[in-house]
């Protein structure tokens, strides 16, 4: 009997297409001796589809056509597994399309990577790979992540957070606060988006206003922090959970612009291979040309960050290196990294199938540990209930 893994991808996210690439790479890399993979595509409208073409990358050139020849399904939890029911149901015959033992979210961005999908799976009662609800949410919100890391003595750049309403009503006040607490150049980011969307650097007040307006196209909350002038970026991946975690090889991504843009990340490699390789096709220096001491510092800090946030599965932590002061800062954590950062693990001897195998084991371990805790007590307070609903609790 093979373990059935349901790989979920797509979703109502700006990084919808990227996750298709991540997912299909993973689907193809699973050890088919041990696992049976069921690809589950989530459309932008929030519908789930399965079918023989859902796991093929070519199908996604024409998504409408793909949908019309695929089966719409409804996930339902049953005794710790996820049942996929045909929707609408057939009049005769079996309406169970398949039953999944473990869910594997291969999604990026808000609405899917931020705990929403994780919470849904937890409610269904099926074990799932990767960060749980809290760590997913912390990973997605740059401000919350900084707060937790600061409390753990992990270096992060100080930032100021503000919302779009305050910006439109008290613009001057916000500008003064920002100029007071920060110094130019300043980088402005939406608080909860990934993949460098909505990010701009400002060198003066005019630039600041432009950058903030730009960021508020994409989110209701934004943060501003000091931009590092002499900057190098180093990324490192971590695999494990709260108990044991290990770090991968380090990489240094190459920018074509001031900051790594969406185009850089996903526009795709060189002209010949075309797009469609995701993070794995990006230009990068792997391993990153840094000293062994710095490499160890990065890897140690990456593990510390991973554990401080209560992360699980495989994550990629992006660092900022201020080369003037030779100081390292944690920029952000990607709780579901592009291509699951498999290319960072191959250099340290963890091949993609093994990476996936360990991710599934971690998911089952968490499920096992959580089910050992009793979440309901034997008392039935409703059995002895008398009188009104008010004043029930003391």
């Amino acid at each position: 009997m093979k373990i059935k893994v349901g790989v979920l991808f797509g979703g109502k996210s700006v990084e919808h297409e990227v996750s298709v690439i991540t997912a299909i790479q993973a689907i193809n890399a699973f050890d088919k001796e041990k696992y049976e993979v069921v690809p589950i595509y989530m459309t932008r409208e929030g519908d789930f589809y399965c079918g023989p073409d859902i796991g093929k990358i070519e199908s996604y050139r024409e998504i409408k056509a793909l949908i019309s020849r695929s089966v719409r399904v409804l996930p339902v939890g049953e005794k710790g597994r996820m049942k996929l029911l045909r929707q609408p149901p057939k009049m005769f015959g079996n309406n169970v399309y398949d039953i999944i033992d473990v869910a594997f979210p291969a999604v990026h961005g808000t609405n899917v990577e931020d705990g929403a999908l994780q919470g849904y799976l937890q409610t269904l009662g099926v074990p799932y790979v990767g960060c749980d609800v809290l760590s997913s949410a912390l990973g997605m919100d740059k401000y919350a992540m900084k707060a937790v890391l600061k409390d753990n003595g992990i270096p992060v750049l100080p930032c100021v957070r503000f919302d779009v309403k305050r910006w439109s009503r008290k613009r001057d006040e916000v500008v003064e606060e920002l100029e007071g607490k920060l110094r130019y150049p300043v980088i402005v980011k939406p608080v909860n988006l990934g993949s460098s969307i909505g990010i701009k650097i400002a060198r003066d007040r005019e630039g600041l206003i432009e950058a903030v307006d730009y960021a508020f196209n994409y989110a209701s909350f934004a943060i501003a922090e000091n931009a590092i002038v002499k900057l190098r970026e180093i990324n490192c991946s971590v695999l494990g959970d709260y108990e044991t975690a290990e770090a991968s090889e380090c990489e240094e991504p190459i920018n074509t612009d001031e900051i790594l843009s969406y185009e850089d990340k996903y526009g795709g490699g060189d002209g010949k291979s075309g797009g469609g390789k995701g993070m794995s096709g990006l230009k990068r220096l792997l391993p990153a040309p840094i000293s062994p001491e710095l490499r160890e510092e990065v890897r140690t800090l990456a593990i510390k960050t991973f554990k401080a946030l209560g992360a699980s599965g495989v994550a990629r932590i992006d660092f900022l290196l201020d080369t003037d002061e030779m100081k390292l800062y944690v920029n952000e954590i990607n709780t579901i990294p592009g291509s699951l950062a498999f290319y960072l693990w191959e250099p340290v001897g963890v091949k993609y199938p093994e990476l996936l195998d360990r991710l599934v084991s971690l998911a089952l371990k968490r499920e096992r540990e959580n089910s050992a805790i009793s979440y309901s007590f034997e008392t039935n307070i409703l059995a002895n209930f008398r009188g009104g609903l008010k004043g029930g609790k003391r």
């Binding site: 009997m1 373990i3 059935k4 597994r81 033992d101 473990v102 074990p127 089952l364 050992a372």
Partner: protein, 515 residues
């Protein structure tokens, strides 16, 4: 009864009586595990059933008497009403098998009635036959069982083949067999809890330990994500352990104890020993057998598989030392395979539970669970329902040891009771299925109880006579003994006792409805 109306009324009374009696019979048959021999034994002892069906015998005679037709029908209705069961401890579960038997019987009855309706002239004789069938109702259930046997066997074989297919589709699964005369269920749950620190474990639920129970567990609960399957194996006769092993193919086994349980169906102690060791014989070349060497029958036996011993009293690979037991739990020391001594603390009470935990630790340590994690899991162990389970009831404490008692466990339960402060009460219907030793062992139990208990409530006068005599022979005061017919009466008597201190009530063995 030549007139149609009369015949119809008679038939209805007949069917009513048949339905009520059949339901009761089916219920008891289910409790007797669908075992013909057990059920026949029960029929013989069922005085109440015989008494309640006597009106039907009279009805059979009266049916032949002209003019007594309606009176005869009324007697059948009375029989029906007498047989209606009250609330049962374990009510009838209408499984597919039970349904198949009901349908078979319904068809037979329908044919019978149709025949009677067709042969107008012989109706009087048919009515007498109806009443006779009601009186002989126990036989109809046995008949249905015999008729359905080929169908049931075929269905069961299908289930067994399905389970075998599932097991062979999971070659990486580690199957651990757990058997013994007693302590199986406890040890199985403890092993499951300790191994869960590192592995995804499935254990057979509740007390499922028959071939079909194990097969059902595999078909309904085993998942590809499971890494270990802890399978409880029970037996009442020779070859039954081997039957389960042939299906699950265990890689490891543990034998928790050997004693005179089910002596009447096994025949001899030698048979019991050989049957338990069928588990060891089923292991592969690199299999491991865990043995409770405190038990003399186990310690002396030669085995082929790699042997790991555990216990409290004897020299063993995993020997629990410095054992402290109290009403708050137990504490002991044990050395793992790394040579380091660890202290274990648990909420579980009773010295034999320490022995059970030592066995579970042996298995977990051998399977590579880190000892620190084992210590944590032991701390979290909870009592298995109805096995020395502590229940606080206001001021009083109940020690619920209601499941399948055995002499060794009963003795241990009494010593646990002795650890508690308060007014100590024993409530018991005695121990059963001990064959020729039943009198002797219950007598001994009575003697042991006399030394610990402040009050003893016995359920079922006939059954508990040996205990009563054991108590008296030890000089126990008669006024401190209550003998009642039901458990409810016994508990009510205990409730009514006036005491200064809290009551500590040991419920030792609770017999199922078919006793």
């Amino acid at each position: 009864m030549a007139d149609t109306v009369g015949f119809v009324i008679y038939t209805l009374c007949f069917l009513f009586a048949a339905a009520m009696l059949t339901k009761r019979q089916m219920h008891m048959f289910q409790l007797n595990m669908y075992n013909m021999a057990s059920h026949i034994g029960w029929i013989r002892r069922d005085r109440k059933g015989l008494l309640h069906s006597l009106p039907a015998l009279l009805a059979a005679v009266l049916a032949l008497v002209p003019g007594a037709g309606y009176f005869s029908a009324a007697l059948l209705a009375v029989t029906a009403l007498l047989s209606i069961e009250g609330r049962a401890k374990k009510p009838l579960v209408v499984t597919k098998r039970v349904l198949r038997m009901f349908v078979t019987l319904a068809i037979l009855y329908a044919l019978f009635v149709a025949l009677a309706a067709a042969l107008e002239g012989a109706r009087r004789y048919f009515c007498a036959a109806f009443a006779l069938v009601v009186f002989l109702n126990p036989l109809t259930v046995l008949l249905a069982n015999i008729l359905m046997k080929p169908v049931e066997s075929s269905i069961n074989r299908g289930f067994i083949r399905d389970a075998e297919r599932i097991i062979s589709g999971m070659p990486r699964l580690t199957v651990i067999g757990v058997t013994g005369s007693y302590g199986k269920t406890s040890v199985k749950f403890y092993i499951g809890k300790l191994l869960s620190a590192k592995y995804n474990v499935l254990v057979t639920p509740e007390s499922y330990n028959t071939t079909l129970g194990v097969v059902r567990t595999i078909r309904e609960h085993l998942r590809p994500t499971h890494e270990v399957f802890v399978c409880e194996m029970g037996a009442k006769g020779v070859g039954e352990i081997k039957e389960i092993c042939d299906i699950v193919k265990p890689k490891m086994g543990i034998i928790t104890s050997i004693g005179p349980q089910h002596l009447e169906t096994f025949g001899s102690i030698e048979n019991i020993i050989n049957t338990k060791f069928e588990l060891e014989e089923s292991l592969p070349e690199d299999g491991i057998i865990f043995l409770n060497t405190d038990n003399e029958y186990i310690a002396g036996r030669q085995v082929k598989a790699r042997r790991v011993s555990y216990g409290c009293e004897s020299e063993a690979d995993y020997r629990a030392r410095d054992i402290k037991v109290s009403e708050h739990g137990s504490e002991f020391k044990l050395t793992g395979k790394d040579g380091v001594e660890y202290t274990f603390v648990t909420k579980l009470i009773g010295r034999h539970n320490v022995q059970n935990i030592a066995g579970a630790i042996a298995v977990a340590d051998t399977l590579g669970v880190p000892m620190e994690d084992i210590v944590t899991q032991v701390r979290r162990l909870e009592s298995v329902p109805h096995r020395l389970q502590l229940i606080n009831k206001g001021r009083d404490v109940i020690i619920d040891d209601a499941f399948n008692s055995n002499p060794s466990g009963a003795k241990a339960a009494l010593s646990v009771l002795g650890e508690f402060s308060g007014f100590k009460v024993l409530v018991t219907p005695g121990m059963i299925e001990l064959g020729e030793k039943q009198y002797e062992l219950n007598y001994e139990f009575g003697r042991q109880a006399s030394m610990v208990c402040d009050f003893v409530a016995l359920v079922g006068e006939r059954q508990t006579k040996p205990i009563y005599e054991g108590l008296i022979s030890a000089g126990y005061d008669k006024s401190k003994i209550f003998v009642g017919a039901t458990i409810q009466a016994a508990l009510a008597a205990v409730e009514a006792l006036q005491t200064n201190e809290r009551k500590v009530i040991l419920l030792e063995n609770d017999l199922p409805d078919n006793y």
